[in-house]
Point group: C2
Chain length 315, copies 2
Protein backbone atom coordinates (compact mmCIF):
# COMPACT_ATOMS: atom_id res chain seq x y z
CA UNK A 1 0.00 0.00 0.00
CA UNK A 2 1.16 3.56 -0.56
CA UNK A 3 1.03 6.23 2.14
CA UNK A 4 -2.50 7.40 1.30
CA UNK A 5 -3.91 3.88 1.22
CA UNK A 6 -2.12 3.16 4.48
CA UNK A 7 -3.63 6.25 6.15
CA UNK A 8 -7.12 5.25 4.97
CA UNK A 9 -6.56 1.67 6.13
CA UNK A 10 -5.51 2.94 9.58
CA UNK A 11 -8.56 5.25 9.80
CA UNK A 12 -10.88 2.28 9.21
CA UNK A 13 -9.42 0.36 12.17
CA UNK A 14 -8.89 0.77 15.92
CA UNK A 15 -7.24 -0.69 19.04
CA UNK A 16 -3.70 -0.68 17.72
CA UNK A 17 -0.59 -2.35 19.07
CA UNK A 18 2.69 -1.16 17.53
CA UNK A 19 5.76 -3.40 17.42
CA UNK A 20 9.45 -2.39 17.26
CA UNK A 21 12.55 -4.44 16.38
CA UNK A 22 15.25 -6.13 18.49
CA UNK A 23 18.20 -3.94 19.56
CA UNK A 24 15.85 -0.96 19.07
CA UNK A 25 17.31 2.18 17.54
CA UNK A 26 15.98 5.72 17.23
CA UNK A 27 14.12 4.95 14.03
CA UNK A 28 11.99 2.04 15.26
CA UNK A 29 11.26 3.71 18.63
CA UNK A 30 10.63 7.14 17.08
CA UNK A 31 8.31 5.63 14.46
CA UNK A 32 6.35 3.70 17.09
CA UNK A 33 5.90 6.79 19.30
CA UNK A 34 5.06 9.08 16.37
CA UNK A 35 2.51 6.69 14.88
CA UNK A 36 0.95 5.95 18.28
CA UNK A 37 0.47 9.67 18.96
CA UNK A 38 -0.88 10.31 15.43
CA UNK A 39 -3.47 7.53 15.87
CA UNK A 40 -4.44 8.86 19.30
CA UNK A 41 -4.76 12.29 17.70
CA UNK A 42 -7.56 10.84 15.56
CA UNK A 43 -9.33 9.42 18.62
CA UNK A 44 -8.01 5.90 18.23
CA UNK A 45 -6.78 3.67 21.03
CA UNK A 46 -3.13 2.89 20.39
CA UNK A 47 -0.22 1.47 22.39
CA UNK A 48 3.38 0.48 21.75
CA UNK A 49 4.50 -2.98 22.89
CA UNK A 50 7.26 -2.63 25.48
CA UNK A 51 10.71 -3.38 24.08
CA UNK A 52 12.84 -4.78 26.91
CA UNK A 53 16.05 -3.95 25.05
CA UNK A 54 15.31 -0.22 24.69
CA UNK A 55 18.10 1.81 26.33
CA UNK A 56 17.64 4.93 28.44
CA UNK A 57 18.57 6.95 25.37
CA UNK A 58 15.23 6.12 23.76
CA UNK A 59 12.80 5.01 26.48
CA UNK A 60 11.75 8.61 27.32
CA UNK A 61 10.01 8.83 23.93
CA UNK A 62 7.73 5.93 24.90
CA UNK A 63 6.56 7.44 28.18
CA UNK A 64 2.80 7.02 28.51
CA UNK A 65 2.67 4.99 25.30
CA UNK A 66 3.70 1.52 26.50
CA UNK A 67 0.87 -1.02 26.34
CA UNK A 68 -0.54 -2.09 29.71
CA UNK A 69 -0.09 -5.71 30.73
CA UNK A 70 -2.69 -7.93 29.08
CA UNK A 71 -3.92 -5.34 26.53
CA UNK A 72 -5.58 -7.17 23.68
CA UNK A 73 -5.27 -5.34 20.33
CA UNK A 74 -7.51 -5.55 17.26
CA UNK A 75 -4.84 -4.26 14.88
CA UNK A 76 -1.12 -5.05 15.02
CA UNK A 77 1.32 -2.78 13.16
CA UNK A 78 5.10 -3.23 12.93
CA UNK A 79 7.39 -0.29 12.24
CA UNK A 80 10.92 -0.52 10.81
CA UNK A 81 10.95 -4.35 11.18
CA UNK A 82 12.39 -5.98 8.04
CA UNK A 83 12.27 -9.66 8.98
CA UNK A 84 10.65 -12.26 11.22
CA UNK A 85 14.00 -12.82 12.91
CA UNK A 86 14.00 -9.25 14.18
CA UNK A 87 10.91 -9.58 16.41
CA UNK A 88 11.79 -9.19 20.09
CA UNK A 89 11.05 -12.20 22.29
CA UNK A 90 7.83 -10.68 23.72
CA UNK A 91 6.53 -9.79 20.22
CA UNK A 92 6.90 -13.28 18.78
CA UNK A 93 3.33 -14.20 19.75
CA UNK A 94 2.22 -11.66 17.10
CA UNK A 95 4.46 -13.09 14.34
CA UNK A 96 1.54 -14.66 12.41
CA UNK A 97 -0.90 -11.85 13.02
CA UNK A 98 0.79 -8.61 12.00
CA UNK A 99 -1.89 -6.71 10.06
CA UNK A 100 0.41 -4.03 8.65
CA UNK A 101 4.18 -3.61 8.30
CA UNK A 102 5.50 -0.10 7.62
CA UNK A 103 9.15 -0.26 6.58
CA UNK A 104 11.99 1.13 4.47
CA UNK A 105 14.32 -1.90 4.26
CA UNK A 106 14.85 -3.45 0.82
CA UNK A 107 15.20 -6.79 2.63
CA UNK A 108 11.56 -6.60 3.89
CA UNK A 109 10.21 -10.17 4.17
CA UNK A 110 6.50 -9.33 3.65
CA UNK A 111 5.48 -11.16 6.82
CA UNK A 112 2.40 -8.97 7.38
CA UNK A 113 -1.04 -9.06 5.73
CA UNK A 114 -0.45 -5.57 4.33
CA UNK A 115 2.85 -3.79 3.75
CA UNK A 116 3.69 -0.15 3.21
CA UNK A 117 7.30 -0.23 1.97
CA UNK A 118 9.44 2.52 0.50
CA UNK A 119 13.09 1.46 0.31
CA UNK A 120 14.02 4.90 -1.03
CA UNK A 121 13.54 6.49 2.39
CA UNK A 122 16.59 7.06 4.58
CA UNK A 123 14.50 6.45 7.69
CA UNK A 124 11.20 4.71 8.28
CA UNK A 125 10.34 7.90 10.18
CA UNK A 126 10.00 9.76 6.86
CA UNK A 127 7.23 7.37 5.84
CA UNK A 128 5.49 7.66 9.22
CA UNK A 129 5.68 11.46 8.96
CA UNK A 130 3.86 11.36 5.62
CA UNK A 131 1.25 8.95 6.94
CA UNK A 132 0.76 11.01 10.12
CA UNK A 133 0.25 14.11 7.95
CA UNK A 134 -2.50 12.30 6.03
CA UNK A 135 -4.19 11.30 9.29
CA UNK A 136 -4.27 14.87 10.60
CA UNK A 137 -2.04 17.74 11.71
CA UNK A 138 1.41 16.65 12.85
CA UNK A 139 1.82 18.20 16.30
CA UNK A 140 5.02 19.10 18.13
CA UNK A 141 4.46 16.08 20.38
CA UNK A 142 4.45 13.73 17.36
CA UNK A 143 7.29 15.61 15.68
CA UNK A 144 9.78 15.01 18.54
CA UNK A 145 10.03 11.20 18.15
CA UNK A 146 9.77 11.48 14.37
CA UNK A 147 12.71 13.89 14.31
CA UNK A 148 14.64 11.41 16.48
CA UNK A 149 13.77 8.65 13.97
CA UNK A 150 14.88 10.61 10.91
CA UNK A 151 17.99 12.17 12.45
CA UNK A 152 19.38 9.04 14.13
CA UNK A 153 18.99 6.85 11.02
CA UNK A 154 21.01 9.38 9.00
CA UNK A 155 23.66 10.15 11.66
CA UNK A 156 22.10 13.65 11.73
CA UNK A 157 21.91 14.05 7.94
CA UNK A 158 25.51 13.01 7.33
CA UNK A 159 25.22 9.43 5.99
CA UNK A 160 24.94 8.61 2.31
CA UNK A 161 21.29 7.58 2.69
CA UNK A 162 20.23 11.21 3.33
CA UNK A 163 18.12 12.64 0.49
CA UNK A 164 16.53 15.98 -0.36
CA UNK A 165 13.27 14.49 0.98
CA UNK A 166 14.97 13.72 4.31
CA UNK A 167 15.87 17.41 4.65
CA UNK A 168 12.35 18.47 3.68
CA UNK A 169 10.90 16.19 6.34
CA UNK A 170 13.33 17.62 8.90
CA UNK A 171 12.30 21.17 7.92
CA UNK A 172 8.61 20.36 8.40
CA UNK A 173 9.25 18.65 11.75
CA UNK A 174 11.33 21.58 13.01
CA UNK A 175 8.57 23.98 12.07
CA UNK A 176 6.29 22.42 14.70
CA UNK A 177 8.63 23.91 17.33
CA UNK A 178 10.55 20.84 18.51
CA UNK A 179 13.72 21.45 20.58
CA UNK A 180 15.97 20.20 17.77
CA UNK A 181 19.18 21.62 19.28
CA UNK A 182 18.54 19.77 22.53
CA UNK A 183 17.68 16.52 20.73
CA UNK A 184 20.83 16.81 18.59
CA UNK A 185 22.96 17.45 21.66
CA UNK A 186 21.52 14.34 23.30
CA UNK A 187 21.87 12.01 20.35
CA UNK A 188 24.90 13.31 18.43
CA UNK A 189 27.01 15.56 20.59
CA UNK A 190 27.31 13.52 23.77
CA UNK A 191 29.64 10.62 24.50
CA UNK A 192 30.18 8.78 27.76
CA UNK A 193 33.63 9.05 29.29
CA UNK A 194 33.91 5.27 28.98
CA UNK A 195 33.17 5.47 25.27
CA UNK A 196 35.81 8.15 24.80
CA UNK A 197 38.30 5.98 26.69
CA UNK A 198 37.53 3.02 24.42
CA UNK A 199 38.05 5.23 21.37
CA UNK A 200 41.27 6.48 22.86
CA UNK A 201 42.53 2.90 23.42
CA UNK A 202 41.57 2.05 19.84
CA UNK A 203 43.60 4.99 18.52
CA UNK A 204 46.62 4.01 20.60
CA UNK A 205 46.45 0.34 19.58
CA UNK A 206 45.27 0.62 15.98
CA UNK A 207 47.41 -1.04 13.29
CA UNK A 208 47.68 0.22 9.73
CA UNK A 209 48.42 -1.92 6.67
CA UNK A 210 48.61 -1.37 2.88
CA UNK A 211 50.23 2.04 3.28
CA UNK A 212 47.46 3.19 5.63
CA UNK A 213 44.50 2.00 3.55
CA UNK A 214 43.58 -0.83 5.90
CA UNK A 215 43.13 -0.22 9.63
CA UNK A 216 42.65 -2.88 12.28
CA UNK A 217 41.22 -1.95 15.68
CA UNK A 218 40.67 -4.38 18.52
CA UNK A 219 38.45 -4.21 21.58
CA UNK A 220 39.23 -7.14 23.85
CA UNK A 221 37.48 -8.40 26.98
CA UNK A 222 40.21 -7.06 29.27
CA UNK A 223 39.73 -3.53 27.92
CA UNK A 224 35.95 -3.62 28.32
CA UNK A 225 36.22 -5.05 31.83
CA UNK A 226 38.90 -2.59 32.90
CA UNK A 227 36.81 0.39 31.77
CA UNK A 228 33.52 -1.08 33.01
CA UNK A 229 31.96 -0.37 29.59
CA UNK A 230 28.51 -1.64 28.63
CA UNK A 231 26.56 -2.03 25.36
CA UNK A 232 25.59 1.64 25.23
CA UNK A 233 29.28 2.59 25.32
CA UNK A 234 29.96 0.22 22.42
CA UNK A 235 27.20 1.43 20.08
CA UNK A 236 28.35 1.68 16.44
CA UNK A 237 32.00 1.27 17.52
CA UNK A 238 32.65 -0.49 14.18
CA UNK A 239 32.38 2.84 12.37
CA UNK A 240 35.06 4.52 14.49
CA UNK A 241 38.26 3.56 12.65
CA UNK A 242 36.70 4.24 9.26
CA UNK A 243 37.02 7.96 9.93
CA UNK A 244 40.84 7.92 9.94
CA UNK A 245 42.06 9.93 6.96
CA UNK A 246 43.22 7.64 4.16
CA UNK A 247 41.65 4.47 5.58
CA UNK A 248 39.53 2.63 3.04
CA UNK A 249 39.11 -0.74 4.76
CA UNK A 250 38.21 -0.43 8.42
CA UNK A 251 38.33 -3.61 10.49
CA UNK A 252 37.06 -3.75 14.06
CA UNK A 253 37.60 -6.91 16.09
CA UNK A 254 35.56 -7.33 19.22
CA UNK A 255 36.29 -10.20 21.56
CA UNK A 256 32.87 -11.52 22.60
CA UNK A 257 34.14 -14.25 24.95
CA UNK A 258 37.48 -16.03 25.27
CA UNK A 259 38.14 -17.68 21.91
CA UNK A 260 35.30 -15.98 19.98
CA UNK A 261 35.55 -12.67 18.12
CA UNK A 262 33.14 -10.55 16.13
CA UNK A 263 34.68 -8.98 13.04
CA UNK A 264 33.25 -5.87 11.40
CA UNK A 265 34.46 -4.61 8.06
CA UNK A 266 33.63 -1.24 6.52
CA UNK A 267 34.86 -0.60 2.98
CA UNK A 268 34.50 1.63 -0.02
CA UNK A 269 32.25 -0.84 -1.89
CA UNK A 270 33.56 0.25 -5.27
CA UNK A 271 37.05 -0.89 -4.27
CA UNK A 272 36.35 -3.88 -2.04
CA UNK A 273 33.09 -5.76 -1.47
CA UNK A 274 32.87 -6.25 2.31
CA UNK A 275 30.12 -8.83 1.97
CA UNK A 276 32.28 -11.07 -0.23
CA UNK A 277 35.17 -10.82 2.26
CA UNK A 278 33.00 -11.74 5.24
CA UNK A 279 31.29 -14.55 3.34
CA UNK A 280 34.68 -16.31 3.25
CA UNK A 281 34.56 -16.32 7.06
CA UNK A 282 30.95 -17.47 7.28
CA UNK A 283 29.47 -14.01 7.68
CA UNK A 284 27.78 -11.47 5.42
CA UNK A 285 26.00 -8.13 5.17
CA UNK A 286 26.16 -5.25 2.74
CA UNK A 287 28.80 -4.31 0.16
CA UNK A 288 30.01 -1.41 2.33
CA UNK A 289 29.48 -2.90 5.81
CA UNK A 290 29.64 -6.55 6.74
CA UNK A 291 30.56 -8.79 9.65
CA UNK A 292 31.41 -12.30 10.74
CA UNK A 293 31.88 -14.17 13.99
CA UNK A 294 35.02 -16.30 14.12
CA UNK A 295 36.50 -18.75 16.59
CA UNK A 296 39.96 -17.75 17.75
CA UNK A 297 41.90 -15.06 19.57
CA UNK A 298 41.94 -11.40 18.53
CA UNK A 299 45.27 -12.06 16.81
CA UNK A 300 43.84 -15.04 14.91
CA UNK A 301 40.75 -13.08 13.91
CA UNK A 302 42.99 -10.34 12.55
CA UNK A 303 44.97 -12.82 10.45
CA UNK A 304 41.73 -14.37 9.19
CA UNK A 305 40.20 -11.13 7.94
CA UNK A 306 43.46 -9.91 6.38
CA UNK A 307 43.67 -13.27 4.59
CA UNK A 308 40.06 -13.00 3.40
CA UNK A 309 40.67 -9.48 2.06
CA UNK A 310 43.65 -10.78 0.07
CA UNK A 311 41.53 -13.62 -1.36
CA UNK A 312 38.80 -11.26 -2.59
CA UNK A 313 41.33 -8.76 -3.94
CA UNK A 314 43.16 -11.37 -5.98
CA UNK A 315 40.24 -13.73 -6.54
CA UNK B 1 19.25 45.55 1.13
CA UNK B 2 17.14 42.40 1.05
CA UNK B 3 17.92 39.44 -1.20
CA UNK B 4 15.88 40.72 -4.16
CA UNK B 5 17.40 44.19 -4.02
CA UNK B 6 20.84 42.63 -3.72
CA UNK B 7 20.26 40.45 -6.81
CA UNK B 8 19.11 43.49 -8.79
CA UNK B 9 22.08 45.52 -7.55
CA UNK B 10 24.46 42.75 -8.67
CA UNK B 11 22.78 42.51 -12.10
CA UNK B 12 23.41 46.22 -12.66
CA UNK B 13 27.17 45.85 -12.08
CA UNK B 14 30.14 43.89 -13.43
CA UNK B 15 33.83 43.01 -12.91
CA UNK B 16 33.46 41.60 -9.43
CA UNK B 17 36.08 40.76 -6.83
CA UNK B 18 34.85 38.68 -3.90
CA UNK B 19 36.58 38.80 -0.50
CA UNK B 20 36.67 36.14 2.24
CA UNK B 21 37.67 36.39 5.91
CA UNK B 22 40.84 35.49 7.82
CA UNK B 23 41.18 31.87 8.99
CA UNK B 24 38.71 30.99 6.20
CA UNK B 25 36.08 28.35 6.93
CA UNK B 26 33.69 26.46 4.69
CA UNK B 27 31.07 29.20 4.86
CA UNK B 28 33.18 32.11 3.60
CA UNK B 29 34.93 29.98 0.92
CA UNK B 30 31.70 28.25 -0.16
CA UNK B 31 29.88 31.61 -0.39
CA UNK B 32 32.65 33.15 -2.45
CA UNK B 33 32.76 30.22 -4.90
CA UNK B 34 28.96 29.98 -5.13
CA UNK B 35 28.47 33.70 -5.72
CA UNK B 36 31.35 33.86 -8.22
CA UNK B 37 29.83 31.00 -10.27
CA UNK B 38 26.31 32.52 -10.06
CA UNK B 39 27.62 35.86 -11.40
CA UNK B 40 29.54 34.12 -14.18
CA UNK B 41 26.34 32.22 -14.98
CA UNK B 42 24.78 35.60 -15.83
CA UNK B 43 27.69 36.50 -18.10
CA UNK B 44 29.51 38.65 -15.55
CA UNK B 45 33.25 38.71 -14.98
CA UNK B 46 33.87 37.60 -11.40
CA UNK B 47 36.87 36.43 -9.39
CA UNK B 48 37.60 35.52 -5.76
CA UNK B 49 40.59 37.17 -4.09
CA UNK B 50 43.10 34.51 -3.08
CA UNK B 51 43.05 33.76 0.65
CA UNK B 52 46.58 32.69 1.67
CA UNK B 53 45.26 31.02 4.83
CA UNK B 54 42.84 28.68 3.02
CA UNK B 55 43.69 25.05 3.86
CA UNK B 56 43.67 22.13 1.44
CA UNK B 57 40.26 21.20 2.82
CA UNK B 58 38.70 24.20 1.08
CA UNK B 59 41.02 25.35 -1.74
CA UNK B 60 39.58 22.84 -4.26
CA UNK B 61 36.31 24.82 -4.29
CA UNK B 62 38.19 27.90 -5.53
CA UNK B 63 39.85 26.16 -8.48
CA UNK B 64 39.58 28.35 -11.56
CA UNK B 65 37.98 31.14 -9.53
CA UNK B 66 41.02 32.83 -7.96
CA UNK B 67 41.66 36.33 -9.30
CA UNK B 68 44.71 36.66 -11.56
CA UNK B 69 47.58 38.82 -10.33
CA UNK B 70 46.87 42.51 -10.93
CA UNK B 71 43.15 42.09 -11.75
CA UNK B 72 41.42 45.42 -11.21
CA UNK B 73 37.77 45.09 -10.17
CA UNK B 74 34.88 47.52 -10.58
CA UNK B 75 32.78 45.99 -7.82
CA UNK B 76 34.08 44.60 -4.52
CA UNK B 77 31.84 42.23 -2.53
CA UNK B 78 32.67 40.65 0.84
CA UNK B 79 31.00 37.43 1.98
CA UNK B 80 30.66 36.26 5.60
CA UNK B 81 33.01 39.04 6.84
CA UNK B 82 31.58 40.67 9.98
CA UNK B 83 34.27 43.22 10.79
CA UNK B 84 37.16 45.26 9.42
CA UNK B 85 39.54 43.31 11.66
CA UNK B 86 38.69 40.12 9.81
CA UNK B 87 40.08 41.18 6.41
CA UNK B 88 43.08 39.09 5.38
CA UNK B 89 46.33 41.00 4.89
CA UNK B 90 46.06 41.01 1.07
CA UNK B 91 42.44 42.29 1.21
CA UNK B 92 43.17 45.31 3.41
CA UNK B 93 43.73 47.54 0.38
CA UNK B 94 39.98 47.14 -0.29
CA UNK B 95 38.92 48.05 3.26
CA UNK B 96 37.57 51.48 2.29
CA UNK B 97 36.05 50.40 -1.00
CA UNK B 98 33.86 47.39 -0.33
CA UNK B 99 30.71 48.04 -2.39
CA UNK B 100 28.59 45.30 -0.84
CA UNK B 101 28.86 43.11 2.25
CA UNK B 102 26.72 39.96 2.37
CA UNK B 103 26.68 38.53 5.89
CA UNK B 104 24.79 36.71 8.65
CA UNK B 105 26.71 37.89 11.75
CA UNK B 106 24.79 40.05 14.26
CA UNK B 107 28.13 41.77 14.96
CA UNK B 108 28.32 43.09 11.35
CA UNK B 109 30.16 46.43 11.40
CA UNK B 110 28.56 47.94 8.27
CA UNK B 111 31.93 48.74 6.71
CA UNK B 112 30.57 48.48 3.14
CA UNK B 113 28.56 50.98 1.04
CA UNK B 114 25.68 48.51 0.87
CA UNK B 115 24.94 45.61 3.22
CA UNK B 116 22.75 42.55 2.83
CA UNK B 117 22.50 41.16 6.36
CA UNK B 118 20.26 38.43 7.78
CA UNK B 119 21.41 37.40 11.25
CA UNK B 120 18.68 34.75 11.36
CA UNK B 121 20.55 32.55 8.90
CA UNK B 122 22.66 29.69 10.25
CA UNK B 123 25.13 30.15 7.38
CA UNK B 124 25.86 33.02 5.03
CA UNK B 125 25.57 30.32 2.35
CA UNK B 126 21.77 30.28 2.85
CA UNK B 127 21.64 33.95 1.87
CA UNK B 128 23.91 33.41 -1.14
CA UNK B 129 21.72 30.50 -2.24
CA UNK B 130 18.65 32.75 -2.23
CA UNK B 131 20.49 35.50 -4.11
CA UNK B 132 21.91 33.03 -6.65
CA UNK B 133 18.38 31.70 -7.24
CA UNK B 134 17.19 35.24 -8.00
CA UNK B 135 20.06 35.73 -10.47
CA UNK B 136 19.24 32.55 -12.41
CA UNK B 137 19.08 28.78 -12.09
CA UNK B 138 21.31 27.37 -9.34
CA UNK B 139 23.42 24.73 -11.07
CA UNK B 140 25.09 21.67 -9.57
CA UNK B 141 28.43 23.47 -9.91
CA UNK B 142 27.19 26.37 -7.73
CA UNK B 143 25.38 24.02 -5.36
CA UNK B 144 28.56 22.14 -4.35
CA UNK B 145 30.32 25.08 -2.59
CA UNK B 146 27.00 26.37 -1.25
CA UNK B 147 26.28 22.98 0.33
CA UNK B 148 29.78 23.07 1.87
CA UNK B 149 28.99 26.57 3.23
CA UNK B 150 25.66 25.58 4.78
CA UNK B 151 26.73 22.19 6.10
CA UNK B 152 30.06 23.25 7.65
CA UNK B 153 28.57 26.25 9.48
CA UNK B 154 25.98 23.98 11.12
CA UNK B 155 28.30 21.03 11.85
CA UNK B 156 26.20 19.14 9.27
CA UNK B 157 22.82 20.31 10.62
CA UNK B 158 23.59 19.42 14.22
CA UNK B 159 24.33 22.80 15.87
CA UNK B 160 21.68 24.92 17.55
CA UNK B 161 21.79 27.50 14.75
CA UNK B 162 20.18 25.03 12.28
CA UNK B 163 16.66 26.09 11.27
CA UNK B 164 13.87 24.67 9.12
CA UNK B 165 15.11 27.05 6.40
CA UNK B 166 18.59 25.53 6.61
CA UNK B 167 17.11 22.11 5.87
CA UNK B 168 15.01 23.51 3.02
CA UNK B 169 18.12 25.06 1.47
CA UNK B 170 19.97 21.74 1.84
CA UNK B 171 17.08 19.91 0.13
CA UNK B 172 17.15 22.33 -2.82
CA UNK B 173 20.94 22.08 -3.13
CA UNK B 174 20.85 18.28 -3.04
CA UNK B 175 18.24 18.24 -5.77
CA UNK B 176 20.78 19.69 -8.23
CA UNK B 177 22.62 16.35 -7.99
CA UNK B 178 25.62 17.27 -5.81
CA UNK B 179 27.65 14.37 -4.33
CA UNK B 180 26.47 15.16 -0.79
CA UNK B 181 27.61 11.83 0.68
CA UNK B 182 31.14 12.41 -0.60
CA UNK B 183 31.19 16.01 0.66
CA UNK B 184 29.92 14.89 4.08
CA UNK B 185 32.56 12.17 4.25
CA UNK B 186 35.26 14.74 3.48
CA UNK B 187 34.13 17.40 5.91
CA UNK B 188 32.48 15.50 8.77
CA UNK B 189 33.52 11.88 8.73
CA UNK B 190 37.29 12.15 8.34
CA UNK B 191 39.91 12.89 10.98
CA UNK B 192 43.68 12.84 10.67
CA UNK B 193 45.49 10.25 12.75
CA UNK B 194 47.30 13.11 14.48
CA UNK B 195 43.99 14.70 15.41
CA UNK B 196 42.71 11.41 16.82
CA UNK B 197 45.93 11.08 18.84
CA UNK B 198 45.48 14.58 20.26
CA UNK B 199 41.89 13.72 21.22
CA UNK B 200 43.11 10.51 22.78
CA UNK B 201 45.71 12.40 24.87
CA UNK B 202 43.01 14.86 25.94
CA UNK B 203 40.78 12.01 27.12
CA UNK B 204 43.63 10.42 29.08
CA UNK B 205 44.68 13.69 30.69
CA UNK B 206 41.34 15.42 31.19
CA UNK B 207 40.43 16.55 34.72
CA UNK B 208 36.87 16.73 36.03
CA UNK B 209 35.62 19.12 38.73
CA UNK B 210 32.26 19.96 40.33
CA UNK B 211 31.12 16.35 40.27
CA UNK B 212 31.88 16.07 36.56
CA UNK B 213 30.18 19.29 35.44
CA UNK B 214 33.45 21.09 34.68
CA UNK B 215 36.11 19.51 32.48
CA UNK B 216 39.61 20.84 31.89
CA UNK B 217 41.62 19.63 28.89
CA UNK B 218 45.14 20.75 28.10
CA UNK B 219 47.13 20.67 24.87
CA UNK B 220 50.72 21.69 25.60
CA UNK B 221 53.61 22.42 23.25
CA UNK B 222 55.34 19.13 24.03
CA UNK B 223 52.26 17.16 22.94
CA UNK B 224 51.88 19.09 19.68
CA UNK B 225 55.61 18.77 18.90
CA UNK B 226 55.70 15.08 19.75
CA UNK B 227 52.77 14.30 17.44
CA UNK B 228 53.92 16.72 14.72
CA UNK B 229 50.42 18.24 14.66
CA UNK B 230 49.59 21.38 12.68
CA UNK B 231 46.71 23.90 12.62
CA UNK B 232 44.46 21.66 10.57
CA UNK B 233 44.77 18.95 13.21
CA UNK B 234 43.77 21.46 15.89
CA UNK B 235 40.64 22.85 14.21
CA UNK B 236 37.74 23.35 16.63
CA UNK B 237 39.59 21.36 19.31
CA UNK B 238 37.89 23.55 21.94
CA UNK B 239 34.58 21.81 21.30
CA UNK B 240 35.98 18.34 21.98
CA UNK B 241 35.62 18.05 25.78
CA UNK B 242 32.15 19.58 25.72
CA UNK B 243 30.80 16.30 24.34
CA UNK B 244 31.59 14.33 27.51
CA UNK B 245 28.34 13.22 29.08
CA UNK B 246 27.46 15.39 32.07
CA UNK B 247 30.00 18.14 31.30
CA UNK B 248 28.43 21.61 31.32
CA UNK B 249 31.55 23.78 31.43
CA UNK B 250 34.24 22.69 29.01
CA UNK B 251 37.64 24.32 29.36
CA UNK B 252 40.42 23.79 26.82
CA UNK B 253 43.86 25.19 27.52
CA UNK B 254 46.26 25.43 24.63
CA UNK B 255 49.86 26.41 25.26
CA UNK B 256 50.73 28.85 22.44
CA UNK B 257 54.36 29.41 23.47
CA UNK B 258 56.23 28.91 26.74
CA UNK B 259 54.46 31.07 29.31
CA UNK B 260 51.40 31.95 27.19
CA UNK B 261 48.19 29.96 27.02
CA UNK B 262 44.93 30.32 25.13
CA UNK B 263 41.87 29.43 27.17
CA UNK B 264 38.58 28.39 25.57
CA UNK B 265 35.40 28.02 27.56
CA UNK B 266 32.17 26.41 26.33
CA UNK B 267 29.15 26.57 28.64
CA UNK B 268 25.43 26.14 28.84
CA UNK B 269 24.75 29.91 28.65
CA UNK B 270 21.64 29.63 30.82
CA UNK B 271 23.77 28.33 33.69
CA UNK B 272 27.08 30.16 33.22
CA UNK B 273 27.89 33.10 30.95
CA UNK B 274 31.21 32.21 29.31
CA UNK B 275 31.76 35.75 28.11
CA UNK B 276 31.56 37.14 31.66
CA UNK B 277 34.05 34.53 32.88
CA UNK B 278 36.55 35.28 30.12
CA UNK B 279 36.13 39.04 30.54
CA UNK B 280 37.67 38.63 34.02
CA UNK B 281 40.79 37.31 32.27
CA UNK B 282 40.87 40.01 29.61
CA UNK B 283 39.05 37.98 26.96
CA UNK B 284 35.52 37.75 25.64
CA UNK B 285 33.17 36.22 23.07
CA UNK B 286 29.67 34.81 23.22
CA UNK B 287 27.59 33.64 26.18
CA UNK B 288 28.10 29.98 25.20
CA UNK B 289 31.64 30.14 23.79
CA UNK B 290 34.40 32.52 24.85
CA UNK B 291 38.14 32.70 25.15
CA UNK B 292 41.06 34.54 26.65
CA UNK B 293 44.83 34.55 26.31
CA UNK B 294 46.70 34.49 29.62
CA UNK B 295 50.33 34.68 30.65
CA UNK B 296 51.46 31.67 32.64
CA UNK B 297 51.91 27.92 32.50
CA UNK B 298 49.12 25.48 31.66
CA UNK B 299 48.71 24.86 35.39
CA UNK B 300 48.46 28.60 36.11
CA UNK B 301 45.97 29.07 33.27
CA UNK B 302 43.85 26.30 34.73
CA UNK B 303 43.83 27.92 38.15
CA UNK B 304 42.97 31.29 36.58
CA UNK B 305 39.91 30.03 34.69
CA UNK B 306 38.62 27.97 37.62
CA UNK B 307 38.97 31.09 39.78
CA UNK B 308 37.12 33.21 37.20
CA UNK B 309 34.27 30.68 37.02
CA UNK B 310 33.92 30.85 40.81
CA UNK B 311 33.81 34.67 40.69
CA UNK B 312 31.01 34.74 38.13
CA UNK B 313 29.08 31.98 39.90
CA UNK B 314 29.11 33.78 43.23
CA UNK B 315 29.33 37.31 41.89
Amino acid sequence: MNERQTAEWLMERDDFLILTHVRPDGDTIGCAAGLCLALRGRGKTAWVLENPEATSLFTPYLEGLTAPEGWSPDTVVSVDIAARGLFPENARCYLERVDLAIDHHPSQEFFARETCLDAGRAACGELIYDIAGLLGPVTREMAVPLYVAVSTDTGCFVYGNTTADTHRTAAALMETGIPAAELNKRHFRTKTLKRLRIESRIVEGMELFDGGETAVAAVDLAMVAQLGADERDMEDIASFVGQVEGVKNAITIRELRPGTCKLSLRTDPEVLNASRVCALLGGGGHAAASGATVEGSVEEAKRAILWAIEQVRHG
